[in-house]
């Protein structure tokens, strides 16, 4: 996903030009599908699994096409907009997503993990703390989870997340701050990472 910016240079007209053209020539909109379908799917698949991600990918572009008249044509990049639509669709699968995190946490717990001392000694990887990460993601509020995963997995910056979720940038900062606090606390409990003082866990 780091290569997206490079692709943007190589791929022809900017996204806003594509959207503008699609207002008169609707078929032009398929260009956005070709550019971003894999990225939208990848983001959704990490949250919901591949099957539900297929639906989200298909629905996201259909919804985006229907709403292209609302796209802010001053923005050259349509990724935040598309990922925002996908995020809203993922909310319709909230139960599926929660089941996924809980199942992942349980599977990791039942998977015969190494003793604690060995885990601490081992190289710290996402695989080693899979259970804690999944459990922490299940604990987050939907708003916090959306902001965090758009940042960590879709690699949007604060401004882009604000555009994607249609909230002020300060709200994005605060949601990310709290979400990272929950993650840090979950990891601190394993002894694998120090918790940051003053980080409160989301509880409501």
């Amino acid at each position: 996903m780091k290569g997206v910016a490079v692709l943007a240079v190589e791929r022809g007209p900017a996204d806003n030009a594509v959207v503008r053209r699609s207002l008169d020539e609707p078929e032009a909109f398929t260009e956005l599908f070709d550019r971003y379908a894999d990225e939208v799917h990848r983001y959704a698949a990490r949250r919901l699994g591949s099957t539900a991600a297929d639906d989200v990918m298909a629905e996201a572009f259909t919804v985006a096409f229907a709403r292209r008249g609302r796209f802010d044509l001053s923005r050259p990049d349509a990724r935040p907009w598309l990922l925002g639509i996908a995020t809203n669709l993922i909310r319709g699968h909230r139960r599926t997503e929660l089941r996924r995190w809980r199942a992942m946490a349980r599977a990791a717990a039942a998977g015969g993990e190494e003793p604690e001392a060995e885990r601490v000694a081992a190289r710290l990887t996402a695989q080693a703390v899979r259970r804690e990460l999944a459990a922490a993601l299940a604990l987050l509020s939907p708003d916090q989870r959306d902001a965090l995963l758009l940042y960590a997995w879709a690699e949007l910056d604060y401004q882009e997340i604000a555009e994607a979720l249609d909230v002020p940038i300060g709200t994005v900062r605060s949601r990310l701050h709290r979400a990272r606090g929950v993650l840090r606390e979950a990891l601190a409990a394993t002894g694998l990472q120090q918790n940051q003082p003053g980080e409160a866990r989301w509880t409501s």
């Binding site: 398929t30 298909a58 572009f61 709403r67 319709g92 939907p142 708003d143 960590a152 997995w153 249609d166």
Partner: protein, 327 residues
């Protein structure tokens, strides 16, 4: 290594869409593009600058949701033109039956839990499948205390943080007028403006909220339950199977949705609700699991069938003082 780096590594090798899924999605988009403009979803004319968003934190069964309302200049909702004006008579007739005084809401103090016990009869539709009777229990706290909740789904249970049931004051704030209630429900999980007319996703969000209210026993006031049924009459899909008898012999009606395209989001996520014919109290629901639900080893082992029909009955509901306590 910090928590973000670890999170970025989690499932970083998620596979790209299959060729078939990609082609199917692109074909769907091309089909939408090829439709005559009049048949497409109309381009929204929502004026965001005039829309004042009123946020209200509310949770119905396990989710904190942000609710936004579209307010016109006079403070009135202005989007009623999105919805049907000719209500489904069978649903409306059910809504008018609520007998005053029946099913008064229970008081739930902060820190208490709403306990539910539901029995599910699962009937496999393939030869050789296994019939199961499953019991799901749940403990939902009041929303404002940040207490953990415990939930079961087809016999598998877990404890989680967050979520709960709304307070009586929050329930009182929910509009009773059908069009206002529908728009309120639509905004409950997604404050972005709805499409004109509602898309499948808009309806999915709306039904999720309305069903959440109907599914929550004891604490939802009877007038709100009836308002939900009345609102359903103004949706394009809800229908009633009346004069049914529920598992324990109670007079029941089934609210169902015959008009979804098979495979649509809502076809997969909205169940048929079974409610009392007179009080609209939640009695249970019925739904089906299909091949997509049988991909996991647990469900395959549990039912040994590609399709399973499930009917649930709410056996017990009570307010208790502690997580794990049974009445």
């Amino acid at each position: 290594m910090d928590e973000l780096t670890l999170l970025r590594e989690l499932d970083a090798d998620a596979p790209p869409p299959t060729r078939e899924a990609r082609v199917a999605a692109r074909t769907r988009l091309e089909r939408e593009i090829a439709r005559p403009p009049a048949a497409r979803r109309r381009r929204p004319s929502w004026n965001g600058q005039r829309a004042a968003l009123v946020f209200l934190v509310l949770t119905v069964i396990g989710a904190v949701v942000v609710v936004a309302r579209d307010m016109g200049e006079g403070g009135e909702l202005t989007r009623s033109d999105l919805l049907r004006t000719d209500p489904a008579r069978d649903v409306l007739e059910l809504a008018t039956r609520n007998q005053e005084g029946l099913g008064l809401p229970a008081n739930m103090r902060p820190g208490q839990y709403l306990y539910t016990r539901t029995v599910i009869e699962a009937t496999p539709l393939d030869p050789g499948g296994i019939h199961r009777t499953l019991v799901d229990e749940g403990w939902l706290p009041t929303l404002d205390q940040g207490l953990p909740s415990r939930t079961c789904e087809l016999g598998r249970c877990w404890t989680a943080g967050g979520g709960g049931v709304p307070s009586a004051e929050e329930l009182e704030r929910i509009p009773r007028e059908p069009h206002r209630l529908i728009l309120y429900a639509r905004a409950s999980h997604d404050p972005s403006p709805p499409s004109e007319p509602f898309t499948e996703l808009d309806w999915n969000l709306t039904y999720e909220f309305l069903f959440g209210l109907l599914r929550t026993p004891l604490i939802v006031p009877p007038d709100l339950r009836s308002a939900v049924v009345r609102a359903l009459a103004y949706t394009p899909h809800a229908r009633i199977l009346d004069e049914r008898v529920e598992f324990h012999g109670r007079p029941a009606a089934v609210i169902y949705f015959p008009s979804w395209d098979p495979g649509s989001i809502i076809d997969r996520y909205v169940a048929d609700l079974i409610v009392d014919r007179y009080t609209h109290e939640y009695l249970g629901e019925r739904w089906e699991l299909g091949p997509a639900d049988m991909k996991g080893p647990r469900n395959r082992r549990l039912f040994n069938s590609s399709r399973v029909r499930l009917v649930s009955h709410l056996e017990e509901a009570a307010v208790v003082d502690r997580l794990g306590e049974r009445p």
